[in-house]
Amino acid sequence: MNPPQSMQMRIRHTTGYHYERGAAASFNEARMTPMTTSEQYVLRSRLEISPTPWSYEYRDYWGTTVTSFEVHDPHTDLTVVASSTVETQEVPHRPHAATWDDLSGVEDEYCEFLELSSWVAPSPTLLAELAPIRAAAATPGEYALAAAGFLHEQVAYVTGSTEVTTTAADAWESKNGVCQDFAHLTLGVLREARIPARYVSGYLHPSPDPVVGEAIEGESHAWIEWWDGEWVGWDPTNAIAPGPRHVVVAKGRDYGDSPPLRGIFSTSGGSELFVSVEITRLR
């Protein structure tokens, strides 16, 4: 059975902190509002924060919607609930057209997506193993798919195996990772080959064939896009092209450009983070 051409997804993303001894104040930025692109259309989105803060919304450098907020009253929990309804559709198949020679022509334009930040920088052992694949790849597109396939084979997807601060090199070392690590690993090897590549974060409906009306426990997800004459997406964790089950929130150089919630708070005790994502296919 072919997957449908378009879907409507409702996402409820809940996250925040519990403070052991309470927090006196807190300043945060949330990047939890899906973006409207040529492949998805945001019908509704809202962000509820408790305790009710002063908040301010803006678009950042990468085009992501950011809600910045301040809480000044003592509180024991900070909760952010982002709800949105998004119309998604099949991404049209795009011919992978760029040649190796084409890449130098966009080197300056996409210099940001060629940077080997500490998040993505590939380990030398990984590069050594990839060398024959690279030598055999006739085009950047061919190499991208082959390298992503190699990583998918070599690295195991293990929930909770890595931290949010884990780098691509760490993940390669342990041969374990989550979606963020798969994305970083793939970005690193592509950029090393001078192929511009960017980090995409958002949500994925976990079921290959989503049932309409059923609320499912989901997760934040991350995948990548590389430049191949135009931007082409790939989900290295699942070794599939992104489709109507993928909902885009942000695009950037790496995880550092698009954390869902980031901020600082003043407390004398420990803090605990919670997160849950619920996805329902509406149509």
């Binding site: 902190y17 006196a24 980031r262 901020g263 600082i264 708070f265 003043s266 407390t267 803090s271 983070l273």
Partner: protein, 308 residues
């Protein structure tokens, strides 16, 4: 004005007064030790240390130890050197609000410490008194009478009450032989006015009364308390606040009336205990001032960058 600056000025007032008064107290103590051969050096030094709130020391207290702990040693928090250092540090934090003259005077005093340490002790005490007098003179003639001035005066007055109380305790504990009180009066620069006021009748009780209760003598406890209350009243008005009456004002007012409306005999009967109570009131008043005026200036320890 900025809470941080107000706090600095308050503490400049306190530290300078503390340096001045510590020099005065030490002067009395050293004189007594020299002039009264019957005095047990160890006991008397122990008493002094206890009056100054020093509990942490090793060995038998003697005059050299006293001089080290209370005057020379900048690492000892109760020393003159430490007080001057702290005053300078506070001044540095409030540097932009101080007149150049005041800053220069405080800074020069701090820079003079190494030289002063090498002086004979009476000369050093005189030097400390002169320098602090000079700084308050400059403050008096160059500081605008704004909130900052009130905080400076408030700090100075509260400290003066506290330290004069300690000075009186020292004298009371040392007294018996007829040396301590005249020396104490001299140390306060009060000897001549005392003689004039009491027409030459010199007795322990009168001396204590004078330093405690005289409304005209500016170093007496009662007039210092009144001075502190006056500063608080001015602050209250310039702040245009309503609501509860000020906690610090209540504490200091009560301390003053307890001195003024009780029979002198009651107070003098166990002077050190009374003086300790007074010191507690000063500490509480100081805390109340901090809570009310400096509270906005709270420090947060930020954590985070925690990203999910």
């Amino acid at each position: 004005m900025l809470s941080r600056i107000a706090q600095s000025l308050f503490w400049i007032g306190r530290y300078l007064e503390r340096a001045d008064d510590t020099a005065r107290i030490l002067d009395v103590q050293m004189q007594v030790l020299i002039e009264d051969p019957g005095m047990d050096e160890r006991t008397s030094c122990e008493q002094l240390l206890s009056v100054m709130g020093v509990e942490d020391y090793t060995g038998n207290p003697n005059r050299w130890m006293i001089l080290d702990l209370l005057a020379h040693n900048a690492d000892s928090p109760v020393s003159i050197a430490a007080a001057i250092g702290a005053a300078r540090e506070s001044a540095r934090r409030a540097r932009e609000t101080l007149s150049t003259d005041i800053w220069a005077a405080i800074n020069t005093t701090w820079r003079g410490l190494p030289t002063a340490r090498a002086m004979r002790s009476p000369d050093m005490f005189a030097w400390v008194r002169n320098r602090t007098a000079m700084i308050s003179g400059i403050a008096d003639s160059t500081m605008t009478r704004d909130e900052g001035w009130q905080f400076y005066m408030l700090g100075r007055s509260i400290e003066r009450v506290d330290m004069t109380a300690r000075l009186l305790s020292t004298a009371a504990l040392a007294s018996g032989p007829q040396v301590a009180w005249p020396t104490t009066l001299r140390a306060c620069g009060a000897y001549e006015s005392f003689i004039r006021a009491y027409r030459g009748i010199e007795a322990d009780r009168q001396a204590a009364e004078f330093l405690l209760l005289d409304r005209w003598f500016p170093r007496s406890i009662v007039s210092s308390l009144a001075q502190a209350e006056k500063a608080l009243t001015k602050l209250e008005r310039s702040g245009q606040r309503t609501g509860f009456s000020d906690e610090a004002q209540r504490l200091l007012g009560r301390a003053r009336t307890e001195l003024e409306y009780r029979p002198l005999a009651d107070i003098v009967f166990d002077l050190p205990v009374e003086m300790e109570r007074l010191q507690r009131s000063c500490a509480a008043a100081s805390d109340a001032v901090s809570a009310r005026y400096f509270a906005e200036y709270e420090e947060h320890t930020w954590r985070g960058g925690i990203v999910l």
